[in-house]
């Protein structure tokens, strides 16, 4: 049944989905705590690799993108019903934590694992 719906949608094209290199994907990105203005209290690590997701979401969301059903329907709505409803966006799907060692205002030292600090994969939703 899904096939009969999606078959009405034109296949991927360069002008709509953009070139292959512009498809939604994970981009490596590193920043120092000095650049964020936190180097006066964060002791370790020196560098932070949050990464980011960037790129165009394809019109037919393939399985590997882990898109939820809602994103698939929103794509169909954009294509077939109302173009003012936007296409899904390229956003992080999975994250991993980061351990930080920092010095607090009162001189105490804190080790803490912060969840969801590094993007590990991307999705269209």
């Amino acid at each position: 049944r899904a096939g009969s719906i999606t078959s009405k949608i034109p296949g991927p094209s360069q002008d709509h989905d953009g070139p292959e290199s512009n498809q939604c994907s994970l981009h490596h990105f590193q920043v120092s705590f000095h650049q964020l203005g936190w180097d006066h209290w964060i002791i370790a690590p020196n560098l932070y690799t949050p990464n980011y997701c960037k790129g165009t979401c394809p019109r037919v969301l393939r399985y590997g993108l882990n898109s939820p059903n809602h994103a698939i329907i929103q794509n169909l709505v954009n294509e077939l019903v109302d173009q003012s409803v936007p296409q899904p966006c390229c956003v992080p799907y999975k994250y991993v934590p980061i351990s930080i060692l920092l010095i607090e205002a009162n001189g105490n030292i804190l080790y803490k694992e912060y969840e969801d600090m590094i993007a590990q994969s991307c999705t269209c939703r």
Binding site: W38, H40, A44, Y48, I98, L101, Y111, E113
Partner: protein, 244 residues
Amino acid sequence: KVGQPSTALLAEAPTSPLIRELLEEAPDKQQRKPWVLGHPMRYMLELYQRSADARGHPRENRTIGATMVRLVRPLANVARSLRGLWHIQPLDFLLRPNRAAYQLVRATVVYRHQLHLTGFHLSCHVEPWVQKSPTNHFPSSGRGFSKPSQISKAWTEMDITQHIREGLWNLKGHRVLQLRFMCQQQKGREGLELPWHDASSLDTAFLLLYFNDTHKSVQKAKLLPGGLEDFMERESSLLLRRAR
């Protein structure tokens, strides 16, 4: 907004728990002090290296048993008194108010069991603060204090989880954990003035509080009733096989 301080940008969205913490805990950049590489800092750096790699990724095989460890230094109270062979130093640790999301899993006190001051050698231990005069107390005699374990030639770590939980953990607001650092002088040298200024008052003992962040697990439990997540994982692998 390039060039604007990151804290100013964060203040625009203070509802996020991460941002609230960053705004509350971060010292003022103007009051920046050089980090002192004393024993507390060395201890925490070693703990960090054992628990995370150079990029900050928590190690799979970490044995820390908590997601947060706070090293608390004693308040700068150097009023030492002498009773016979014993030199007594009060150690007051200010404990912050409890946060619902953080559960205390362990508390230990790390202290110097050997203190070498110019011309003096002292054996030391830590015990709960009591008003009565000391006799031959040993740390293990304190209620809620476990047997101390030596972590290096001069330093000892002692579990005081039970003492903290029973004594003051459930009190509201800021609380003060009162301990005393007791050092016994060699016989025959009593009455002599000890060069205490040689020993940094903040570097004789510190407190370690181990917490688990329950926020994440509570959120997960709300989203997925027990067992459903496992079921979904099993089901998705089954679907994959079927598709193949």
